[in-house]
């Protein structure tokens, strides 16, 4: 099989996989879920247990039922998720939210990890390119020189490396 036809084959295979996944995804798009459950996992219980409201397991907790009741009332009043969050912050303070918001300085909490990851990724790629650009050092040169220029020999050496794992020992 020539290179273009192989590429075509693999492209079609990937397309088929994506299509199957898309169909399967769309089949499950109607399952109902609890908004209360979702929201209660974005808020902290205020009893001092340092647990999410939806996970606070203290019997007789002075705050859990009260907060859940407020949450239910807000939802019944037709408030949006953001309005509910704002109402809780207004009443209990910013610590009631289980995660920083995306406003003001809080946004830094979300941006910093991805910024650091992106910078480190870029740095790593540049480092590898730079190292690669410097070329092989004496050991590499010696090793390359020692290897045969005969393609059959190279293939045999490659096979030995591959089969014995000498190319990839930990």
């Amino acid at each position: 099989m020539s290179l273009p036809s192989r590429l075509k084959f693999w492209t079609r295979a990937v397309e088929a996989c994506v299509l199957v996944v898309a169909i399967c995804f769309s089949l499950g798009a109607t399952t109902p879920t609890s908004r209360l459950n979702t929201l209660s996992h974005q808020l902290m219980c205020q009893c001092g247990c340092a647990q999410l409201l939806g996970e606070c397991d203290h019997v007789g907790c002075p705050d859990r039922d009260k907060e859940l009741s407020e949450l239910t009332t807000d939802m019944a009043a037709g408030m949006t998720d953001q309005q509910i969050m704002d109402a809780f912050v207004a009443k209990y303070g910013a610590t009631v939210l289980a995660a920083p918001t995306t406003k003001g300085f809080d946004l830094v909490a979300w941006i910093a990890p991805f910024a650091v990851f992106a910078a480190a990724l870029l740095g790593t790629i540049l480092l590898i390119r730079r190292w690669g650009g410097l070329g092989g050092k004496p050991l590499e040169a010696a090793t390359a020189g020692a290897e045969s220029s005969d393609p059959a020999d190279r293939e045999r050496l490659e096979r030995i490396r591959r089969e014995t794992g000498s190319e990839s020992g930990f």
Binding site: S26, D57, T101, D106, P113, I128, K137, E163, F170
Partner: protein
């Protein structure tokens, strides 16, 4: 009430008569600590002077080698002294010596014997003493093995003694474990009973988890000391890495076990149905694990290619500093945590010490950085070398994310005056994708050869894993695991599907690697595949042990992904009341009370039916500890590979007197604990020395020895 007072006074008085031995033991313990501090200080000072003399070649009245040996012996004697102090504290716990404040606050007479040991680390002073003692043990072993490389070990021993000086100084001056009760005089009355151990700690794993974690924390002091020592003395070559490899792996294993035991403890004791809450103290243990794991991978680059020398040095420096930060977070109450058991003002001591350590590291690095020049360079972006770099990149990014999330409340308070909460939703959105990428690299890395690779090789190695990945995705979607709910993406299910798919791909890749190697050996030696796999593993234990560890990690990830499908139900249950969860129906057969000297308990007896047939019984319990006056849940867990049925006795309705039961169905949790077993096994395999061609040849029939030669040369 009056009788109780009289009883306490009489008991107190009668105890006073035989309490002289208790005071004696407290004095003995305090002196042991003082002597240990003096010996550690001598070890540090004499060791530093001797090594300086050796380095400069200057003459002195005493031979520097002899001076260094006296320093080493002082270190050994210091271990004996710290052991004496630890013994004194344990003795005091067992003899109920409540004239010592620490014993009064963390023990009581009815405390079962195993938990008397746990009292050693249940409070700040005791856990610092445990740290110093474990450091003493590591130092003792290190100093006994000094003949491996006398000079390098002298450096490492001296650096360890510097760390020991810090901990002993804290114990002697800031957090003395043998302080007597305020106003207490020898022979005076003492309280009849102690306040008892924190109920959260009265669980079997708590007798193992903290020492394991501390063995991991403290253990990283050893590779740190070797790395810093090797840099100070400009140690030639990479031998120091081989010397410290066992130390690092054993330490890493202890930390891994400690973290997992902590997870299991949280799961079985806290009663909220989870095992990881991204609590600052949990994060504190996870961060050095991440950098330590990065170090274990990147040192291979240094060993094989002479690359990443500076990087490795800083990785181990960072790991050590993170263990200190972890202790600071746990002990100083810098951030609020569910289970920071001891909080105090010793934070300043730690901050100053960390500052000194950092300054020493930076100074040494700047002075000796010429020694850390990379010897070789990279040939391709797609190679084993670059996969190690990316592996390190992801591990360190994960570490940064966790550090950032842990410290952001403090930063936020400093910048905008209000504290924010950084809880599970933050980490789930930021750390989980990074973790999945890391798992992906776990599979990709071993498939790439050193130096460079070809498109053909990539295709050959990646076809099967990619097929496994897509088959898993399709199977997941077909059986109803869909990351799409109510027209929007359900991140939990989405990540779970991705995790299953990546896990399948990685498992396929690793198993294919085993089979490929075993197939070659099988063909060349006519062994069956199992025997060939065994030989393959023994031939390169480090490589294949590492693969087994990777399999363990993948199994753990599968278990973690199951949490996306957790379910729970809560109900008040009268006699013969029923509730259903998943395939199970729970029927209340009774609820009653029990008591012993240590606690009173309420518990329910629940029959669990499946398909109308009783299959087992669970008895969730809620205890009320008498000494501390605190309640504690004892969760009933029935675990099978598919899921855990997790039943909590939440309490009693005061109006009806009936128990409130909460049941969880947590899929795949057992896989997490099984994954740990695989990781431990893999680490042990990696620690075993590989068969050398010479020893292996002896075991192969002569006729088969010749064709085996290339095989035996492979690998390491």
């Amino acid at each position: 009430m009056e009788n109780e007072l009289v009883r306490r006074e009489v008991t107190g008085f009668s105890r006073a008569c035989d309490n002289h031995s208790g005071v004696l033991m407290a004095t003995f313990g305090s002196f042991c600590l003082l002597i240990a501090l003096v010996l550690a200080a001598y070890n540090l000072f004499a060791g530093a002077v001797a090594l300086r003399l050796i380095a400069t070649g200057r003459a002195a009245r005493i031979s520097p080698e002899r001076l260094a040996d006296t320093a080493r012996r002082a270190g050994i004697a210091g271990f004996v002294a710290v052991t004496g102090a630890a013994f004194a504290l344990i003795w005091s716990v067992f003899t109920n010596d409540f004239s010592i404040t620490y014993i009064l606050e963390h023990s009581n007479r009815a405390l079962p014997i195993p938990y008397k040991f746990a009292a050693l680390w249940s409070g700040q002073e005791g856990s610092l003493l445990l740290w110093a003692w474990l450091l003493g043990i590591y130092g003792f072993v290190l100093r006994l093995r000094h003949k491996t490389d006398v000079k390098l070990y002298a450096y490492a021993g001296t650096i360890l003694s510097g760390i020991q000086v810090f901990f002993l100084a804290v114990l002697v001056f800031a957090a003395p474990p043998f302080s007597l009760l305020p106003g207490y005089v020898a022979g005076g009355p003492i309280p009849a009973d102690g306040n008892g151990l924190n109920p959260l700690l009265q669980y079997p794993e708590m007798v193992i988890h903290p020492p394991m974690l501390y063995l991991g924390y403290v253990g990283f002091s050893v590779p740190f000391a070797f790395a810093l020592g090797a840099l100070m003395m400009r140690y030639p070559g990479e031998k120091w890495i081989r010397i410290t490899r066992t130390w690092t792996m054993v330490t890493w294993l202890f930390l891994t076990c400690g973290i997992f035991l902590g997870m299991h403890w949280a799961y079985a004791v806290l009663g909220w149905g989870g095992y990881w809450g991204w609590d600052p103290v949990e994060n504190a243990s996870f961060m050095p694990w991440l950098t330590g794991t990065a170090f274990l991978h990147s040192v291979m680059m240094q060993e094989r290619k002479g690359m990443m020398k500076s990087w490795n040095v800083w990785l181990i420096f960072s790991t050590f500093l993170l263990t200190m930060l972890g202790t600071l977070l746990t002990r100083a109450g810098l951030v609020s945590s569910v289970h920071a058991f001891a909080q105090s003002s010793i934070g300043t001591w730690f901050v100053v010490f960390m500052g000194i350590v950092l300054a020493v590291c930076i100074f040494t690095y700047i002075l000796q950085r010429g020694h850390l020049k990379t010897e070789h360079h990279m040939e391709s972006l797609v190679s084993r070398e670059s996969s190690f770099l990316f592996n390190n990149l992801v591990l360190l990014t994960a570490c940064f994310v966790i550090l950032w999330g842990t410290l952001f409340p403090i930063i936020s308070e400093y910048v905008q005056g209000t504290k924010v909460t950084v809880g599970a939703p933050f980490y789930n959105r930021v750390a989980v994708p990074i973790g999945l990428f890391l798992v992906f690299l776990t599979g990709v890395g071993p498939l790439l050869p050193w130096r460079a690779t070809s498109f053909k090789a990539i295709k050959r190695n990646f076809v099967l894993p990619v097929i496994a990945l897509w088959v898993t995705v399709i199977v997941c979607l077909a059986v109803g695991v869909r990351p799409w709910k109510d027209g929007s993406l359900d991140s939990g299910s989405f990540y779970a599907v991705v995790a299953f798919a990546v896990a399948a791909a990685v498992l396929t890749a690793i198993i294919a690697e085993f089979l490929r190697g075993a197939g070659v050996i099988s063909r060349q030696t006519n062994r069956n595949l199992f025997a060939a796999t065994w030989l393959l593993t023994r031939r390169n234990t480090r490589r294949y042990g590492g693969y087994i560890v990777h399999i363990g990690v993948v199994v753990v990830v599968i278990g973690l992904a199951g949490s996306a499908f957790n379910r729970s139900i809560e109900s008040e249950m009268g006699l013969h009341s029923k509730m259903s969860i998943g395939p199970y129906t729970l029927e209340c057969m009774g609820f009653t009370q029990d008591s012993n000297q240590n606690y009173n308990s309420d518990y329910a007896v629940l029959d669990v039916d499946q398909g109308g047939k009783k299959i087992f019984q669970v008895t969730p319990e809620r205890r009320f500890y008498l000494a501390s006056g605190q309640p504690q849940t004892m969760v009933a867990i029935h675990s099978i590979p598919e899921w855990d049925l997790y039943v909590v006795y939440e309490g009693t309705n005061p109006d009806t007197g009936q128990p409130i039961i909460k049941a969880f169905l947590n899929p795949l949790v057992g896989w997490i604990w099984f994954g740990l077993v695989v990781i431990v096994f893999g680490t042990f395999v990696a620690l075993v020395p590989s068969l050398t061609p010479a020893t292996a040849a002896l075991r192969v029939p002569a006729a088969k020895a010749a064709p085996m030669t290339p095989v035996l040369k492979g690998g390491d």
